[in-house]
Symmetry: C2
Subunit: 143 residues, 2 copies
DNA sequence: CCTTGACTTGAAGTCGACTTGAACTTCTAC
DNA sequence: GTAGAAGTTCAAGTCGACTTCAAGTCAAGG
């Protein structure tokens, strides 16, 4: 497959494919200087990368586990830690969702006055008011 | 309250507070040129901002609804849309979490060969392989 | 042979939410 | 009155994951 074929199949722009290769996340077979050709397995590889990204792993972390050379070297500890992290995130997101619905529905002039809203607020933003959060990029839903 | 007091109470660095003020998200009462003094309500305001951020709103979107001048001008449509978006995100995150746990547990040499894993993968990454996602910053959990 | 379009490279630009630095002022304590 | 901590402004830097640009190369069709 050539780069545009992979791009079509995965939806990932060719610029991103080149970027991934440059970062060592995928490999292309080719004579130096010529055009890239991809083995079919690269599509699965890219799906794994997408999973890792959805899980909040950085490309560097993903590369550490899924180097295209040799068998995947899975850090099970890290995966479980990330899973736990995501579960915690889900909890907070549920509170955020409730908070938003409440804010949309509650007619109180100032939401800061509504006790149930304050409670949701605390649950949703807990941590924000204690220790600062790190940063993370999350995908938006498929449109 | 002075800026360090607000910072201590909310955990938000003073640099961020100045930034928020510059962006019009919060107000400080003060003689021009002198030090900032904050009304107590600013803490609630900041909690709302944190909620908005946790919900994935940009500071610009938050400002549109929570201008410190005058009553909040809530866009209920937008809030409900964001809530729905978050619910969809939660669904995908659950799949991601399962996927990670599976990847950590499954002894298969190549995960791409395990059918149940492939299914999770699809659910987790769905959309990534169709249309490209937008970008969004999400907070990490409180450490 | 020549055009056209897809590919190549490396470097630079983008985005949002801050942080950091430099240079300066002001408040607090001694 | 003076040190030093904490505040001020404005400009510039940071981070990750890409995208975009400029300039050049290669392959197939007419």
């Amino acid at each position: 497959m050539d780069i545009s074929e992979v791009s079509k199949r995965t939806g990932i722009p060719s610029s991103a494919l080149r970027y991934y290769e440059q970062k060592g996340l995928i490999a292309s077979l080719r004579e130096p200087g010529a055009r890239r050709r991809y083995a079919p397995g690269v599509v699965d590889q890219l799906a794994l990368i997408a999973l890792g990204q959805a899980a909040g792993l950085s490309l560097d972390e993903i590369r550490a586990m899924l180097s295209p050379y040799g068998p995947p070297n899975i850090d099970r500890q890290l995966l479980l830690a990330k899973a736990a992290e995501i579960d915690a995130l889900i909890k907070r997101l549920r509170a955020v969702s409730s908070g938003l619905r409440h804010a949309a529905a509650c007619p109180a002039p100032s939401h800061a006055e509504c006790p149930s809203f304050r409670k949701l607020l605390k649950a949703a933003a807990s941590g924000a008011l204690e220790k600062r959060w790190g940063k993370r990029r999350w995908p938006a839903p498929p449109r």
